[in-house]
């Protein structure tokens, strides 16, 4: 698996490379916030039940001293701590398994957790990912997780590293013109607006290595690539080579 910009590349068994678009920190944070709010719902319901049970019990006995002696408040308290535990430790794993890596928050933000190879997440990876959340939350406000996301190659928090998972953008099915795919190659058509896969690879690879070249070689290769691609993508070939490369990079 290699990384170019914000994608993780995986090779399918058919030996075709697919690029998984990695999710950014912002959308992950918003998704988490949504999930956090949803997690509050069962907790608040259980809390209300507990309060109701306690006050009923108080009313029946007429004194504060019978609080935990009645069985009803005890049941309510047990339910409350079980609900708290379950939402803490199982909320994300249940969603990961039931909706193939999409908790409601992730669904709203069009994100999905997958295993490193792009496969649907399994129970063990999900459990590890969400248990290790404890480390990512240290020392508060997900500081460790944030540092790890910026530091690691595929935007992974520690939980993702330990579980072997990725959070990817998953826009779902979109409309697109499929007939073009098997039509004539675009190089014979009028100037295209977007770089083709091969040309984008060329420009990316070249720009990545360019700064390491001797200046004479660099100027020569700049010119060659600019001349080759400028006309194809409707850029004025008389511009300086560096400006053409800049334009190409933006496409």
């Amino acid at each position: 698996m290699k990384r170019l910009d914000d994608v993780a590349t995986v090779e399918t068994p058919e030996q075709i490379e697919l690029e998984l678009p990695l999710a950014g920190v912002g959308s992950r944070a918003v998704a988490y916030l949504l999930d956090f709010l949803i997690q509050l719902i069962p907790v608040v319901i259980a809390m209300v039940l507990l309060v109701v049970a306690l006050s009923l019990d108080l009313g029946l006995k007429g004194s504060a001293d019978g609080i935990m002696r009645g069985r009803v408040p005890l049941v309510a308290a047990a339910v409350f701590s079980a609900v708290l535990f379950a939402t803490n430790f199982l909320y994300f794993t249940i969603w990961d398994l039931a909706a193939r890596g999409q908790s409601p928050g992730k669904r709203a933000l069009k994100l999905r957790v997958v295993r490193d190879g792009g496969l649907a997440i399994d129970a063990r990876s999900s459990l590890i990912r969400n248990l290790v959340r404890t480390v990512d939350m240290l020392p508060g406000f997900y500081v460790v997780g944030l540092v790890s996301v910026f530091w690691s190659r595929a935007h992974k928090r520690i939980g993702d590293l330990a579980a072997g998972t990725l959070v990817i953008r998953d826009e779902g099915a979109a409309v697109g013109e499929l007939s073009v795919i098997l039509g004539p190659a675009p190089s014979v058509l009028a100037p295209a607006s977007a770089l083709s896969a091969a040309d984008r690879g060329l420009v990316h690879d070249y720009l990545e290595r360019r700064h390491g070249l001797a200046s004479a070689t660099r100027d020569r290769l700049d010119r060659q690539i600019a001349d080759k691609l400028a006309v194809r993508y409707g850029i004025d070939p008389r511009l300086p080579a560096a400006a053409i490369l800049d334009e190409l990079k933006g496409k």
């Binding site: 058919e14 075709i16 398994l97 190879g117 129970a123 979109a174 795919i181 675009p186 896969a197």
Partner: protein, 331 residues
């Protein structure tokens, strides 16, 4: 549901048809893992291959990336769905886990010894400090813990009830799962929690002895204490394994070493939680009852013995070892 009268063979129609079918299958299959019918499962690989071949062809023809977006998107999803192993049924996964726990624990013997050692270190220190001067308890233990330790002097404060087990279980399982997960902090968090718990245990024991409440203390602790401590040690050993993998990744990348260790030792953390559910039940139900200390010790001893027996004899490793011995005899 509308069913077309004569379903065309998928992949024989247009590419657009195949991709549309693939999109529909992926959408349904991901929402409910078992939502795909037999016919769907037959079609899935066919339309997937049709689409991925089209992608390969299009790339070879230099088709602009923007026009491939839809195809790539559905293929990423379909690949993730098609090649992921079928998730096992819950019962089967649980049975496999029960077989796996003893194997993993046995493999982590040294980590387990280290966890016990670290906790004992904290315990000895906490005991020594507070035994020397009980007034220092205020500095080491929270007021709540001190109050608890003092309370052993009085009679039983409440009757036992299995429902109390829920509180003990959730509380202890939280500690166990956290002590495991914190292994991913280069083991640092796991060591700190082990030391701290050791200090609390040693300190509490010292306080109780100073107050002359030892018989009540042991009456409460003996029945559940053994398996509870065992569970925490197992979870901590799993955390230490993770920490060690991060510190000494060997020839692996650090992240990969962490991932391998986390996956290998997860059964220990889950096993600890399982053991704690039993411990919690005993702690809530039997421990508060005013039974003879000998009875409590018998209950605690048999529980701990059963757990150790399961860990020592359980799992496939044992059977394999016997097999090897037989082979060795033959040779």
């Amino acid at each position: 549901m509308m069913v077309p009268a004569a379903a065309p063979v998928p992949g024989s129609g247009t590419l657009a048809g195949a991709v549309a079918r693939l999109e529909e299958l992926v959408e349904r299959g991901r929402r409910h893992p078992r939502a795909l019918a037999r016919a769907d499962l037959r079609d899935l690989p066919i339309v997937y291959r049709r689409a991925i071949t089209a992608l390969a062809e299009a790339r070879a023809r230099d088709v602009p990336i923007a026009q491939l977006a839809r195809l790539e998107r559905v293929l990423i999803a379909a690949h993730g769905l098609l090649y992921a192993p079928e998730p096992p049924r819950l019962g089967r996964a649980f049975a496999a886990l029960l077989r796996e726990i003893p194997e993993v624990v046995k493999r982590s013997g040294r980590a387990l010894a280290l966890a016990i050692g670290i906790c004992a270190l904290g315990g000895l220190w906490g005991y020594a400090v507070i035994r020397a001067d009980p007034a220092r308890a205020i500095a080491l233990l929270s007021p709540e813990l001190i109050e608890n330790a003092r309370n052993f002097k009085g009679g039983p404060t409440r009757a036992g009830d299995p429902l109390y087990g829920v509180f003990y279980f959730t509380n202890n399982a939280k500690v166990a799962l956290t002590v495991y997960a914190l292994g991913a902090s280069f083991g640092l968090g796991t060591v700190v929690i082990l030391l701290y718990n050791g200090i609390v245990l040693g300190g509490t024991l010292a306080l109780v002895l100073s107050a002359g409440a030892s018989s009540r203390f042991f009456s409460f602790v003996l029945a559940h204490g053994g398996i509870e401590m065992l569970a925490i040690f197992i979870a901590a050993a799993a955390g230490l394994e993770m920490g060690y993998a991060m510190l000494r990744p060997g020839w692996k990348r650090r992240g990969d070493a962490l991932r391998d260790a986390a996956h290998a030792t997860l059964p220990m953390a889950l096993g600890a939680a399982l053991l704690l559910s039993v411990a919690g039940l005993v702690e809530g139900w039997i421990s508060p009852k005013p039974l003879a200390i000998a009875t409590k010790a018998l209950i605690g001893g048999s529980l701990l013995g059963a757990a150790l027996l399961y860990l020592i004899l359980g799992g496939r490793a044992h059977r394999r070892a016997t097999g090897r011995a037989v082979l060795a005899d033959g040779v």
